[in-house]
Amino acid sequence: MSSSHAGPAPEAPKGPVSNYNVPGLRSEEAPGWRADQIDVDEMILNMGPQHPSTQGVLRIELRTDGEVVRAARPHIGYLHRCFEKHSENVDYPGVVPYTDRMDYVASMGNSLGYALAVEKLMGIEVSPYVQAIRVVMAELQRIASHTIAVGTYGMDIGAFTPFLHLLRDREKILDLFEWTCGARLLYNYNWVGGVSHDLPEGFIRAARQFLREFEAITHPELMDLLIGNKIFIKRTAEVGIVAPELGIAYDLTGPNLRGSGLTFDLRKDEPYCGYQNYDFKVCVGEGQFGPLGSCFDRNWARALEMAESARIVSQALDALEKMERADVHEKVPKRVKPSKGEVYFRSEAPRGQLGYYIVADGTGVNPYRVKVKSPCFTAMSIFHVLARGLYIADIIALIGSLDVVLGEIDR
């Protein structure tokens, strides 16, 4: 359940330590960041929170020597919206819209994880029909999320055109979502015990049309135009190398870990929603152009994963076609009230392993505690290690390749 941490243990703090007085927490106390500890050649560059390519409101302090970054320190928390505290004050179904707002680029994955966690807590098993719908939605969302990740990554490197080609296809996915549940960004779709709306008439045909276009045009074009571009490869293939051991030590998950060549994918390893029935392969970085685990490999894993997700969607649509239409949200009573207990459930969100730890006290209709293990938060924790010694331009390439969404880091 908890991931093992390798590497040296942190030094024990000296003197009294309170929550508000942790050594190294405040910038003037951190070693090497005080004004008198900075070399005359060095300069502190404050990147963000309003910067075009820090993926939202991330702020990074860079200690730079010319173009070279000597040290980097990310500051998070600009988008903190008290998700976990809010969850204690609404009932179980009421948490779903809040989960949507964590990773706002991939809302379907968030609410799916939450719904599955509560269902596990209550011991509910949803019908195969709902499971197939959930898989279709989750995988379409994964494609949409990766188009943003790969597209903006190209834009960070300076290639503008692939981004718009990919957004064109993301629009089609969002159209499908809008058609189904009325929302384009924050869906409130995966409810406890089902989904909010059944698929509309004709959805399967439209989704197939989209997949045909995506697989025949957009994906090959992306591989030609961006991934295979020599400048792109030169910029990314030898930057931000995460050895597999380092990735495990810092608890990277999802495409970030798979970029280091590890085939860890919860859809294969701990299948949920009937993922064991689908034929797909886990995409990993291959290190074709440089050391394994570089920015290029993480991006490569994402780019290939889009095609694999398209395959899963296509199989799930096949399965849906064979099934009878069933009721999608009458499984649970209006007032969801699990008995006393706790549960941890993790699923493979587009950005990695998203875990929900839910405690029910058995008395109220609200969760006693909801804790989220966010993939972006752990991905951010490796940033300062990788950033050392890079160029300023590489810092941008590094953030983009970790594909963090600040809404999920800060919650």
């Binding site: 173009e67 135009l225 160029y391 590489d394």
Partner: protein, 393 residues
């Protein structure tokens, strides 16, 4: 005296010479400045449309027919926008910097020949003048970066200084080859040397040595006007906006104008040096009755090169600083120096080029390139029509 001067002498008999000379200088200057100041409106519109075409979208559409007035609206907006001065900026340098950048971009136009007599000044050191004047804008960029008192602006300024200093050397080296062949620095002489149609252009002389020289010059001049893939001084994903981070309103518009003017300047210089300048590809097309078509041909060539610059910008990612230096010093410079030496030797040994060998390559190569381009465009249009039908179905 220029053609305009002689014309004025006829129109204003009995006027003092100084007035005629002053008018003869003023009229082309006003014409050129108007052309250059309004040119960016056209180029920005072209850029948005070309970018739209490449990115499978429409581009400006609402303001005026086909969005033609969009850039005008943007320009008016920039003119009326408040220019904000940072509190800690050096006001004098802050205002002076964009002026210097624009000046550097505009001054090169003085020597560009638009026809046998349509030229503001035929300096006998024309090429040298262009090189010297175009580096003036670097001073403006550094000044802007320093005066803004902003770390990003400073980074942009230092990058632009490093970049332009590095890329000017291969650019000048490849110019040197042309100058050795022609034996003159005057741009008018260089054009006159290429008389006789497309096969006589300097691009095809000592085939394919000068083609390589042209590519080196074009790459280096892309870097000199800070266009992608060499736009690191203003890399928006890294340095927010680089040297013009703190500029707004009209001062920002001036940087913008300078960038687009520099694009057309380097394209015009490249056309003059390698593509025959104002000469037509077929001598028969040089005149339309009494009207010389020189400016049309020069602009056609320059605009084609501008199109190539835009094409590259919307296709390629950006290089990193060290890779940029690598390209300049370890790739372009050795090629350019070798070319300069080899062509210098060939000029002594074979002063008239490779003769027939040079002549036969011009037309097939040019037509081949244009056929390929046309094929690409036709395919793209077909594809988009096909997609529209598919979506309608």
């Amino acid at each position: 005296m220029t053609a305009i001067g002689q014309l004025l002498h006829g129109l204003l008999p009995g006027q003092p010479d100084w007035l005629v000379v002053a008018l003869a200088g003023l009229i082309p200057a006003v014409l050129l400045v108007t052309f250059m100041a309004l040119g960016p409106l056209l180029y920005v519109y072209a850029e948005t449309k070309i970018a739209g075409f490449m990115q499978d979208r429409i581009g400006p559409k609402r303001v005026g027919p086909h969005g033609l007035l969009q850039t005008l609206a943007d320009a008016v907006k920039l003119l009326f926008k408040e220019a904000i001065f940072p509190k800690s900026a050096d006001k004098l340098l802050f205002v002076f910097a964009p002026c210097l950048v624009v000046l550097g971009a505009f001054l090169s136009f003085v020597v560009i020949p638009f026809g046998s007599r349509a030229q503001t000044a035929d300096l006998n050191v024309g090429v040298f003048y262009v090189v010297a004047v175009s580096s003036l804008s670097t001073v403006g960029l550094i000044m802007a970066g320093w005066a803004s008192n902003n770390k990003y602006a400073l980074f942009g300024a230092m990058r632009s200084a490093a970049q332009i200093v590095s890329y000017e050397i291969p650019a000048v080296m490849s110019l040197l080859a042309v100058v050795t062949i022609v034996g003159s620095l005057s741009l008018q002489d260089i054009v006159a040397f290429q008389k006789g149609g497309l096969p006589h252009w300097l691009l095809f002389r000592y085939f394919p040595l000068n083609v390589i020289g042209f590519l080196v010059f074009f790459t280096a001049s892309l870097a000199e006007c800070n266009r992608a893939p060499f736009d690191i001084p203003e890399a928006e994903s890294e340095l927010v906006a680089g040297f013009h981070t703190e500029y707004s309103g009209f001062f920002f518009a001036m940087f913008f104008m300078a960038e687009y003017t520099e694009m057309i300047v380097v394209s015009a210089v490249a056309s003059v040096l390698f593509l025959g300048g104002w000469l037509a590809p077929l001598p028969a097309l040089q005149q339309l009755g009494p009207i010389g078509l020189g400016p049309v041909w020069l602009l056609a060539k320059a605009w084609f090169l501008v199109f190539v610059q835009m094409w590259l910008r919307w296709t390629l990612p950006r290089l990193r600083v060290d890779q940029l230096m690598h390209v300049a010093w370890k790739v372009l410079l050795p090629i350019a120096m070798t070319l300069a030496v080899v062509i210098g030797g060939l000029v002594l040994w074979l002063p008239h080029g490779f003769g027939l060998w040079d002549r036969i390559w011009g037309w097939p190569l040019t037509l081949g390139i244009f056929a390929y381009l046309a094929y690409g465009i036709v395919r793209a249009v077909q594809w988009s029509r096909h997609r529209i039908q598919e979506l309608a179905a």
